[in-house]
Symmetry: C2
Amino acid sequence: MSLIDLSKQVALGVDIGGTNTKYGLVNHRGEILEKGNLKTDEYPKVEDFIEALYNKVMPLILKHCGHRHFDGIGIGAPNANYYRGTIEQAPNLHWKGVVPFAEMMTKKFEVPCKMTNDANAAALGEMMFGAARGMKDFIMITLGTGVGSGIIANGQLIYGHDGFAGELGHTIVKPGGRKHWSTGSEGSLEAYASATGIAITAKKMRVEFPDSMLNDYPEEAVNSKVVYECAKKGDPISIEVFRYTGQKLGEAFANFVMFSSPQAILLFGGVIKAGDFILKPTKLHMERNLLPIFRNKVKLVFSELDEADAAILGASALVWEH
Amino acid sequence: MSLIDLSKQVALGVDIGGTNTKYGLVNHRGEILEKGNLKTDEYPKVEDFIEALYNKVMPLILKHCGHRHFDGIGIGAPNANYYRGTIEQAPNLHWKGVVPFAEMMTKKFEVPCKMTNDANAAALGEMMFGAARGMKDFIMITLGTGVGSGIIANGQLIYGHDGFAGELGHTIVKPGGRKHWSTGSEGSLEAYASATGIAITAKKMRVEFPDSMLNDYPEEAVNSKVVYECAKKGDPISIEVFRYTGQKLGEAFANFVMFSSPQAILLFGGVIKAGDFILKPTKLHMERNLLPIFRNKVKLVFSELDEADAAILGASALVWEH
């Protein structure tokens, strides 16, 4: 076997969402050489989707490196199973049941294909190219419409025995608490700390406090962005919405820390734009609920990856994961 | 290097408790060739303890295998740190501060020495010699005076970045709940699910229900064993004590499962003698709080190791851990 010039090798990173699919060709340094989009929901049949992706991507691969230097495909997708290479019962996708997606991709592209859920992919991306470079133990939390997570311990993603580990957004932070709009569980972290949860908290609080600036907006316009705008203008109720959210986050983080003792918790997603409004109470309540041996050791860090690229980089990192 | 006859190799397993230290010579098949005891609290100076242990153990090693086949020492101890080989600020030991125990043992015995806390050691023991043989992802929970835990993921113990991972007994299951007698935290699992916690629950409930059999005992005699005796005789309040305890355990287990997706949760320790009184509500509330993808997958299993030997076997397993 001849020596391989690593600098020439590329991976394809694909981030599949309900509406949009983003893809990019990534090299070993985490540079995105080319990127593009595909409308996921325009392809009710998964075979057609793969065909369309192939036709878009293959010319780029041939242009940049030739098939010989194409190492493989990494995919982040909702309800993706790492071990089986499947997408299983994804509620937001047209493709129903259990789709053997990795196998179909490998057949088409003739390279290995690995997949995991989007938050796990983001954690790998942070470890290889982002704020977690060199860390062997950290937890990635994505605070967006939902709350996702990826856990790295001993330098490896924790997949669990069935490939579904790391659903920290669905852990219960308040037994018997707020009912989750989709899972029906009571008091899960996602019900409070997601953008969706923050909007619910804000809508409740503005009724209790008629003076709040939040009442200047119509019901349907109250979202986490509006709460942030009002908090910046000094509205105490909006500030309290983030404080309450941060308390729930911090309590959850304390439990996570006593589980896997990470060096850092990395935060990613739209909600973290609220900055100190949410970060300070999160930190306070995390520390308060930790055993002394864990206190003042765990960093809360914002992601360093560009939000638009993180999912692609993370997915591509699957190809080079050990 | 000549071939080594593995069947001849032995490890020394040592389980250090506040009052007693147990030790045993263990071979590769998990057979304890010799075992013995030492009173920990008779040695206020750690040097004297090591000297006494050496004088007891060395003749046994020479008798069984000679130093050439002595692979090393594994130690389970309270507040032991795996990475540093230290015992740190252990409240129940005479040896104060940070004790470089592994280094001192290696100097004395002239073999490698590894240490971790007792629950981690028990998890390793189960993986190598007990009910978790062949499992790569499981969680060990010890329900005794306190609640300990050891987490195995990808076939490895999770130590975390600082060696203190796996303090699941101190995770909060009820924010703002029962104050822990020693840590001061509010609503930790240990405050409810340890033998100590069960006694507290029983003492509260028997005041509320004067008819309960639990009132036949003097205050200081009410412990988890008495609650079990009364439950067996059909006392509904005692049965309720275990149901309540099981609910808290089950809620906590659901969160653990969504973290690392284990194949099984192994239970060990005096409290599990309550059998179905605690197991059934635990299972019910675990399943109820899980996302559907995790349901009916995780086994709750009782330890297969003899309680008297488990700690020694677990500690010895550290020597052969990869």
